[in-house]
């Protein structure tokens, strides 16, 4: 088992790499989710809200 003595260590080693791979696959699959329409709408809302932000102030 990859040179490890205990199954618990083998599992931890494999699972840590697998967990990172899950993150990679998830990231690629959802790279463009939500789509541009949702993102642009949120940005527009943000801009409108920023314009009326009472806390806006200079540095």
């Amino acid at each position: 088992m990859l040179g490890f003595e205990g199954a618990g260590i083998f599992l931890a080693y494999v699972l840590s790499i697998a967990a990172a791979l899950v993150c990679v696959v998830y990231g690629i699959k959802n790279w463009n989710i939500p789509g541009d329409d949702v993102v642009n709408r949120e940005i527009e809302e943000e801009i409108k809200w920023e314009e009326n932000d009472p806390e806006d102030e200079g540095r």
């Binding site: 040179g3 618990g8 260590i9 931890a12 990172a20 939500p34 540095r59």
Partner: protein
């Protein structure tokens, strides 16, 4: 070691850091910029910043050293770091946090939970708790960074400490969160490259992946000889279930840090810096790989260092003995003796980057917690400029942290022990006080203001009690238990309870109290919930 090389590399590193801090300053125009980087952060920048803030020098040096003692079982922490600290944090907590933060116009973590539960007391108390507890954690990071700079550059600890703090303080105070994020991304990239080189060179030196692991398995009797009675069964086996080593590994190292990360205010606030869920989805990819390369590499290299030291005739003993029983010296000793001189320079910058990226966020969070959450929103102190108040509060937090870093090593016999203690206290406190109400607030409409407040105060009291009076790792060096009761831990010398991490006790208690009190009190109004969960 080549001092000229190290000096040149350090100078280039500092110049780039200063430039990025200046960019942050130039791009900061208002409170949202200063506190949330304008809510438009690039996903890669956010994810690397999250990871590099998460991983401090102590995660690499301290926990890498711990892996040299406990063995590769510490890799379970990496599994949790990625599975919980990245995947669940981004996908489950992150998306809701971002949306709710936006709905409620929250700029900080205490403000988010305060507004969610319509409780300025919660915001004020959270801000104050962060401001009181975080300097100890920040002080620990400063001690780790300054000790390393002092050793590597052969300068005094005091000079290293003030230089280190001054550099970080300038770019955080000037550049706000944008300065922090830009510099974090740069520093995180350096850490990534440094750790990749470290794992490749370690495996190469020990004859390849499987051969290196097998060599470590073969020297198991050395570990059993030293720690056998405590449950150690070799570096590539888990400790005996229920033994002292098992409790320390599972409760403190794996659970305490692995779960505690979810409720870290300086990390949670990052989810509010991006403009949409898409950035969080993309961030998961970067974050997962980044953390694997940080903790995964540190733990594997820490464990494998035993093979190197035992087979090296100059040492011919296991890592902990080669490093004269100082856990924090194992990784630096391994780098200095096993790696080529040029890599020492690379690794020094890697560690400097790790310390700076964590410290910058701590300074930023302390300032916003005290300036915005406690003074402005809680105490209703009227100020001309929110940013100026936060900057002044940051200054106060930085001074307190620096004083702690200056004086603490003088009070504690094992200077570096305080690094692990400071980190553990902050993680334990945050998990027990914030996690139930943060999770409940994001996902359950039935959690009430009274439930959240009760859980907050119960978690805080229980965690503080356990840290001060039961968990021997902290209660013994802190000395309050000995002063009042005459014993280092109320659990008694023979009880395994003294090894059980605060999170194992305080978190369930806080969860139960939050739920029970919520069920007994009136639910929040539909109108308020509609605003939160829009």
């Amino acid at each position: 070691m080549n001092f000229l090389l190290i000096t040149i590399v350090t100078l280039i590193f500092l110049i780039v850091t200063a430039f990025l801090g200046y960019l942050g300053y130039r791009h900061t125009k208002d409170t949202t910029d200063f506190l949330l980087a304008g809510r438009k952060t690039h996903p890669v920048v956010m994810a690397i910043s999250y990871g590099s803030t998460f991983i401090s020098t102590s995660a690499i040096i301290g926990f890498g050293g711990a892996a040299a003692v406990f063995g590769m079982g510490v890799l379970w922490l990496t599994v949790l770091n990625i599975g919980v600290g990245i995947f669940i944090a981004f996908v489950v907590f992150g998306k809701r946090t971002r949306r709710m933060g936006h709905n409620l116009d929250a700029h900080t973590f205490p403000e988010l939970i305060g507004k969610r539960f319509d409780s300025s007391l919660l915001q004020t108390a959270s801000g104050l708790m962060i401001f009181i507890a975080m300097p100890l954690y920040a002080g620990s990071v400063i001690i780790g960074g300054a000790q390393f700079i002092a050793q590597t550059l052969s300068v005094s600890y005091e000079a290293a400490l003030f230089f280190f703090v001054a550099v970080v303080a300038v770019y955080v105070i000037m550049g706000g969160l944008k300065g922090v994020l830009y510099t974090d991304a740069f520093q995180g990239s350096i850490m990534f490259v440094g750790m990749i080189l470290l794992i490749i060179m370690t495996y190469w030196k020990l004859g390849g992946i499987v051969d290196a692991h097998r060599a470590l398995s073969n020297i198991a009797p050395e570990a059993v000889k030293i720690w056998g009675p405590l449950g150690h069964q070799g570096w590539t086996s888990m400790p005996l279930t229920g033994s002292v080593f098992w409790w320390q590994l599972v409760s403190t190292i794996v659970l305490g840090v692995g779960i505690g990360v979810l409720a870290q205010p300086q990390l949670a606030v990052r989810f509010m810096t991006v403009k949409s869920d898409r950035e969080l989805n993309r961030g998961v990819l970067v974050g997962g790989v980044f953390i694997l390369m940080m903790t995964g590499v540190a733990f594997v290299v820490g464990s494998l260092s035993n093979v190197y030291f035992l087979n090296n005739p100059s040492f011919a003993k296991v890592s902990i003995l080669a490093a004269e029983k100082k856990v924090d010296n194992i990784i630096p000793l391994f780098i200095n003796t096993a790696m080529p001189p040029w890599f020492t320079a690379v690794f020094m910058i890697t560690l400097l980057a790790a310390a700076m990226s964590t410290l910058s966020s701590q300074f930023h969070t302390m300032g916003s917690a005290f300036g915005r959450d406690f003074l402005e929103q809680g105490m209703k102190v009227k100020t001309k400029s929110t940013i100026r108040t936060i900057k002044l509060s940051m200054g106060a937090g930085i001074i307190i942290s620096t004083l702690l870093a200056f004086y603490l090593p003088r009070f504690f016999e094992q200077g570096s022990a305080i690094i692990a203690i400071g980190t553990a206290i902050f993680f334990g406190l945050c998990a027990a006080t914030f996690l139930p109400l943060y999770f409940g607030g994001l996902f359950f409409k039935r959690i009430t203001k009274a439930g959240a407040l009760s859980g907050f105060f119960t978690g805080m009291t229980a965690a503080a009690f356990w840290i001060l009076f039961v968990h021997a790792k902290e209660s013994a060096p802190l000395g309050l238990c000995k002063l009042i009761f005459g014993v280092p831990s109320l659990a008694g010398a023979a009880s395994k309870l003294q090894f059980v991490d605060p999170i194992v006790v305080a978190l369930p208690l806080s969860i139960v109290v939050t739920i029970v009190v919520s069920l007994m009190t009136t639910p929040p109004t539909e109108e308020h919930l509609a605003k939160c969960f829009k």
